[in-house]
C-alpha cells in the first residue's frame, strides 16, 4: 500500500500542468505572438525562400524595431499588417474590429478580366440558380455555368439538375472567374462530374511539427466519379486572377479531366489550406497551414496557367462583349464541328 501511494505521488509530481508559453497583451507581446504563430505553423517558408528570398527571422529583425510600448492599436495593426504582407499570401490575414490586413496584389496588380455588367449580356435575367450556381443555355447551344463561390455545399441533386438541363448542349463553360474559394469538398464535388474513373487530382500534406521543414509525406487527393449525372462532352473552364483558393483547387482538379480546356488568365493561386489563430488582444490571424500540390507535385500557390490565354480586350469591353466567353464559345463550337 505504501509503495502504491509513493508511486501515485511520484506520478502526480512528474505530471506537470500542460500550458502554452504565451506573451502578454502588450504591443511587444502581440508582435511576438503573431511572429511565433506564423513561424510555427505557416507552410510555405521554404517555397517562398526559393521564390523571392523570404527570411522570416530577418522579418522579425526588421519589424521588431518598429514596435514601441506607446504605439496605438491602429499603429500596431499597421506594422503587423505590413509584416504579414511579407509572406505574399492571399490566405494570410489579420483582422481587427476596425480593419483587415491583407495581401491582395495577386489580383490587384492584374487586369480584372471580369465584369458582371458584361456577364449580364450573356446571362440575362432568366438564368437558373441552385446553391449559388447560375446556369443557362446560350443561343449557340453552349451551356454557361457561373460558379461565383464554393461556399455552398453542392449535392449530387444540385449538380445532376444542372447537367440534365444542359444535356442538349454541345459543350459547356464553367466560369470560375472572381470565385475566391470556399469549401474544398464543393470544388471536389463539381470536378468529380467530369471524370469517369478514379483520378488523383493533386496531393496534400500537413505540418508535423514547429520546424519550417516538418511536413508529412504528400497524400493523394483522390477524385471519385460523381454518382449522379456526369458531363461527357467538351468543357471550358474560365479563370482570371481572382480565381483563388478552393477555385484554384477546382482548376487544379480539372487539369486531370481529358475533355477540359483551361482558358482565360492565370489563376490567383492560394493552395495552402488556411487555419486560424489569435493574438492576446483578440485579433484573428489566418494563415496557410497545409500545402497542396497538383498532379505533377507542383505547388500552385502563385497560380495555374491556362491552356489558352485570353484577356478581355478594351474594344470588346467597350462593345459589351466578354472576350473570354466569346473565345470559349468559339472553341467549343470548333470542337463540335470536328
Amino acid at each position: 500500500m505504501k509503495k502504491l501511494i509513493l508511486i501515485l505521488f511520484s506520478l502526480l509530481l512528474l505530471s506537470a500542468c500542460v500550458k502554452e508559453d504565451t506573451y502578454d497583451n502588450s504591443t511587444q507581446g502581440n508582435f511576438e505572438t503573431l511572429w511565433k504563430i506564423i513561424d510555427e505553423h505557416y507552410c510555405f517558408f521554404d517555397y517562398k525562400h526559393q521564390e523571392y528570398g523570404l527570411d522570416w527571422n530577418d522579418v522579425h529583425r526588421q519589424y521588431s524595431q518598429r514596435i514601441t510600448k506607446d504605439m496605438t492599436q491602429e499603429q500596431l495593426f499597421e506594422v503587423l499588417g505590413s509584416m504579414i504582407r511579407e509572406l505574399h499570401d492571399g490566405h494570410v490575414n489579420l483582422s481587427s474590429s476596425f480593419n483587415l490586413a491583407r495581401y491582395w496584389n495577386w489580383f490587384e496588380d492584374y487586369p480584372a478580366n471580369f465584369s458582371d455588367s458584361l456577364q449580364r449580356n450573356y446571362l440575362g435575367t432568366d438564368y437558373r440558380v441552385t446553391q449559388g450556381i447560375r446556369y443557362k443555355i446560350l443561343p449557340d447551344n453552349i451551356g454557361y455555368v457561373y460558379v461565383p463561390s464554393f461556399d455552398y455545399a453542392f449535392g449530387s441533386g444540385n449538380l445532376s439538375a444542372i447537367f440534365s438541363h444542359l444535356a442538349i448542349c454541345t459543350g459547356i463553360i464553367i466560369d470560375v472567374r472572381n470565385n475566391e474559394g470556399g469549401m474544398l469538398t464543393s470544388a471536389q464535388a463539381l470536378a468529380e462530374c467530369f471524370i469517369n474513373e478514379k483520378q488523383v487530382g493533386g496531393y496534400i500534406s500537413h505540418k508535423t511539427g514547429k520546424g519550417h521543414a516538418d511536413f508529412s509525406a504528400p497524400q493523394p487527393i483522390e477524385l471519385t466519379p460523381a454518382k449522379g449525372m456526369r458531363w461527357q462532352k467538351p468543357v471550358v473552364v474560365l479563370t482570371n486572377r481572382k480565381t483563388f483558393s478552393a477555385a484554384n483547387s477546382f482548376t487544379m482538379f480539372m487539369k486531370v479531366c481529358p475533355q477540359a480546356t483551361l482558358m482565360g488568365a492565370r489563376t490567383g493561386g492560394g493552395c495552402g489550406l488556411p487555419f486560424n489563430s489569435e493574438l492576446p488582444n483578440g485579433w484573428l490571424v489566418r494563415f496557410s497551414a497545409s500545402p497542396m500540390y497538383d498532379k505533377d507535385m507542383q505547388i500552385t500557390e502563385h497560380g495555374i496557367d491556362p491552356d489558352v490565354s485570353v484577356d478581355i480586350s478594351p474594344q470588346d469591353w467597350a462593345q459589351g462583349r466578354d472576350t473570354m466567353i466569346e473565345t470559349a464559345i468559339a472553341h467549343l463550337q470548333s470542337l463540335s464541328s470536328h
Partner: protein, 250 residues
Amino acid sequence: MPLPLEKEGMRTHCTMLGIGHLNQLDTYLSPQEYTGTQVRLLQENTKNTKLIHGRVTMQNLIQANGGYSQSRTDKGKYMSGMLEWQMALLHHWHVLPRLTLLAGPQLGTHLGFLYNTRNGNNPAQARLSADLGISGAALYRFVLWKKTMDLRYQASLQLGGLMFSPQYGQSYYEIFSLGHSDHNICFTSPFAAPNIDQLITLDAHLGKGTLRIGLQGLVRQSHVNEIKTHDWSFAFLVGYVKNFQLVLSR
C-alpha cells in the same frame, strides 16, 4: 459509497448537478487560454461485490458536462461538451473504526468536443479517449448535530490509454473527407496526458434520505502531436443519494 461496504447487495445511486469554473487551452485552435463556466451532471452508482470476500466495491461514474468560455478579450468563444464513463473496482481497508481507505483500478472512456466560434478550417476539436488508471479514496464517518455524516475524498489518476488527435497541422478535412491518417490514435501516459480527478463529498443522512454536497476538480490535459490541450474545471455539486439493499435469492 454504500456503507457498510461489506454488505453484499448494498447499492447507492446518486445524481448530482453542478456548476463551476472552467479553464481551457487547445493550441490546435488558439494559443490563448479561455475561461468560463461549466455545468455538470454526474451520476454515481456503487455496489458491493462478492470479489475478494466482499471487499471490493464497484463504482460507476457517468458525467455529462457543457461549457462556455471566452478569451481574455472576450472576442474568442469556446463551446464544449463532454460525456464520460468511468468504472472503478475499489478494494477497501478499515484502517480505523471510522476511517476506510479504498483503492483500485479504473477504466475510463471520454467523448466530447471543443468548438471555437470564429475559426475557419480548424473550428473544432474532437475529444475521444479511453484509459486505464488508478483510483483511491478515504471515507470518514462522524456525527455532527446528531446527524450521521460521511466525508469522502477520492482521487483518480490516468496511467495510460489511447486518444484521438489530429497531427500538428492536419485538418479535419484531410482526416475525414480524404481519409488520410497520420498518428491520429496516440498512446497516452501520465506524461503525455496527465489527467487527475479529485472529488470531495459530504453525505448528510437526514431521516430517510441522504443529501450529498461535493466539490469536484477535473484536470484533463494532453500533449501529443505537438498539440497542447487542457480542460481544468472545478465545480460545486449537490445531489440526492438513494441507498438500497437488493434482496438476493439463494
